[in-house]
Symmetry: C2
């Protein structure tokens, strides 16, 4: 699935500008789909070329003009077709877990710093992204509630695991460091970058 389809999906929920779509990605899709301006704006242009969305330039007082996109009937059908044909993959790419996996090759304080930063980040996400509609979720579609609840369940479990394991894990890594060929190892070649 590409960003084009996702943008069309956002537009299925209501008209929006490129900038606002990016906000939606950050607020609602963050835990399962990411996209930058560099992919959103070209995607929107292509959707227009295909006739799946229409644009209206909205002048704003003391703001740059806004281009508000609205899905067409053809766009709706195209979206349904795309979704129906979509293979439901589920990929994670986590440099965080790679770093934990190779924790014994990191400089002494890095594993703790990386782990704590992730704990903080996920705690924040849990508070901000997943609590917004905690009880009053009447406005959401079943799918939105499901995806949100999934994220909440997973983040909660991840945080619980990280809290539980943190101290033991860090101690064991330190012990492994001491046993193996430690970090300041040749010493010099590491400074730059």
């Amino acid at each position: 699935m590409d960003v084009r389809t996702l943008c069309l999906g956002v537009l299925a929920l209501g008209e929006s500008s490129g900038y606002e779509i990016k906000k939606t990605f950050e607020q609602s899709f963050h835990h399962f789909f990411g996209a930058s301006y560099g992919s959103i704006y070209p995607a929107l242009a292509e959707l227009e070329r295909a006739g799946w969305v229409e644009v209206e330039a909205v002048e704003q007082s003391k703001r740059p003009d806004k281009k508000v996109y609205r899905m067409t009937r053809a766009g709706r059908l195209a979206l349904e077709e795309r979704l129906a044909a979509e293979a439901p993959r589920h990929r994670v790419r986590s440099e965080f877990l790679v770093l934990m996996y190779f924790a014994h090759l990191l400089p002494p304080n890095r594993p703790a710093a990386v782990l704590d930063a992730m704990i903080e980040r996920m705690t924040h996400t849990l508070e901000v992204e997943f609590s917004t509609c905690d009880a009053g979720d009447a406005e959401l579609t079943p799918g939105q509630r499901f995806a949100l609840g999934y994220g909440r369940a997973v983040y909660t479990a991840a945080l619980r695991y990280m809290h539980e394991q943190r101290d033991d894990f860090l101690a064991e890594v330190a012990a492994t460091d001491a046993a193996g060929p430690g970090w300041p190892d040749g010493g010099l070649a590491v400074a730059g970058e």
Copy 2:
């Protein structure tokens, strides 16, 4: 982080061929990092060019030759440098959750099929990938145990959530379908692809 670094990481755990590295990716990294032959073999060639690994061609009886890669001292330093400089990102791209999010736009039986397939897939992963070293994890580094435990925690939580929500979610989606503009909508334009 690119596949090059990960291959070097695998080689830090012991010598290996491209084919075996792929197996390692599938067995150990599957839940947080994926890579295909199309990226592994070129990566290995680059690592060799850089002097970070050495190759030995191993003849085999009744098998194609195997190229066994071994990390060099320079490779070890390069790996540590890379890992030290690495920003610990954590990205998920899930067409599965996109499909659930837009479940009301799917043909009637698709949400259930997709959800059940994911439940089955994750159940299988939990049994195969995460149980192998359930108690006897003496051989593993702390990092390996941490990453494995993380995956197990997350998959377990995801499965619990999906089991808990399944029936209600599916019923609500069906109800939304009935209310809104349903799937066999124009009817025709959907057959192909």
